[in-house]
Subunit: 215 residues, 2 copies
């Protein structure tokens, strides 16, 4: 019975996601759904991406959190239009939450790239389409190399994987070779970037790739 309930929720969500998708396509805006476990560095990646693409790509941001507006405040400081969604306990963003906040952003036609930062959760966000062009995920090397095989769905659903906090590699037991290998075994098309949002290492390679995707 429980499985059926989940299926119904997913179906309803997919329908709304398809409506969002149509709006994004008509406006010509590229939409990225950024996911990870808590504290893998999603907001830091957004900050670095915004700084690097400043003046080249018109960006808008939707921040998803259970509570608080810390992340939206960090993006607002960079002069980028941003709206914060608080899910009030919900562990992922639903497509209808995105629909609801679109009117709080500039008209979509004025944007090249809309970045949606999902709730920090390595599980549920991967199940819910938002209408995005692409899912991107982060994994902090401090989380350990066993994560891909233990949380396979997000790796399978994502187009790109950012291995973040590589500045911490010397101080952890994480085997980044195994992270790459297991991730690719789940999703051979996964584009992998090794990045440190703290030192800036690898950011340009990432943003160069993003630029090729944005019209």
């Amino acid at each position: 019975m429980k499985v059926k309930v989940v299926a119904n929720i997913l179906e309803a969500n997919d329908r709304i996601a398809a409506e969002n998708r149509k709006k994004f396509e008509e406006a010509g805006v590229f939409v990225m759904n950024v996911m990870s476990g808590p504290g893998a560095g999603k907001t830091s990646l957004l900050e670095k991406t915004i700084q690097e693409l400043s003046g080249k790509v018109k960006i808008g941001v939707i921040e998803g959190d259970i509570a608080g507006a810390d992340d939206a405040e960090r993006i607002d400081k960079l002069g980028i239009p941003v709206v914060q969604i608080n899910t009030g306990g919900g562990c992922h963003l639903d497509a209808n939450m995105i629909t609801d906040v679109l009117e709080d952003l500039p008209p979509l036609k004025e944007l090249d790239l809309l970045i949606i930062e999902n709730v920090g959760n390595l599980v549920c966000p991967a199940e819910f389409k938002l209408g995005e062009d692409m899912k991107v995920m982060l994994l902090s090397v401090a989380e350990g190399h066993d994560k891909p095989l233990k949380y396979p769905l997000m790796f399978q659903e994502s187009s790109a994987l950012i291995l973040n906090k590589i500045d911490l590699l010397p101080y952890t037991d994480a085997d980044i070779g195994k992270m790459r290998k297991d991730s690719l075994s789940l999703n051979p098309n996964l584009k992998i970037f090794e990045v440190s949002c703290k030192t800036g290492q690898g950011i340009t390679e990432w943003t160069n790739w993003v630029q090729t995707l944005v019209k």
Copy 2:
């Protein structure tokens, strides 16, 4: 409508959790539900706890993961009875999953302490009672000091917070004072331990406390 569905699921779960609770009480086994985001070090904490309490406390373990049996294999190596639950996509353990695997453990009367390692997720596991005496959570300092206010429920529901990976503190920007302060603002009764499962720092303080709880 969606909220109603979630409420029904939670009610059904609470009923089964109460049945588990009764079984645990009758057997005189203390049950700990261990939660955290992915890669905060739950299994490492279990390993250290088992090693430290070896010969003093009879321990059994239930491992919860979406996929794979890596964690159960790590516990099995220590000669401790362990059973692995694979949720097959589910982002948390439900009470009925616990009921189902109890027969795969030694009789509860022969155990002093049953440790349940939940799915790595800082959100949903906090909503689902399993019949435990106590919820315990971990937060890796590498996840950053903004986590308590962004994921309040787990901090509110837990009796103890393990701040793990303190060996990484010098290499991160994390403010452990803020972690403690914000956690206590959410839950003034939270017992906080600063631990490194890698170096062993702080483990004895933790296991000494666990011993006071186990009959």
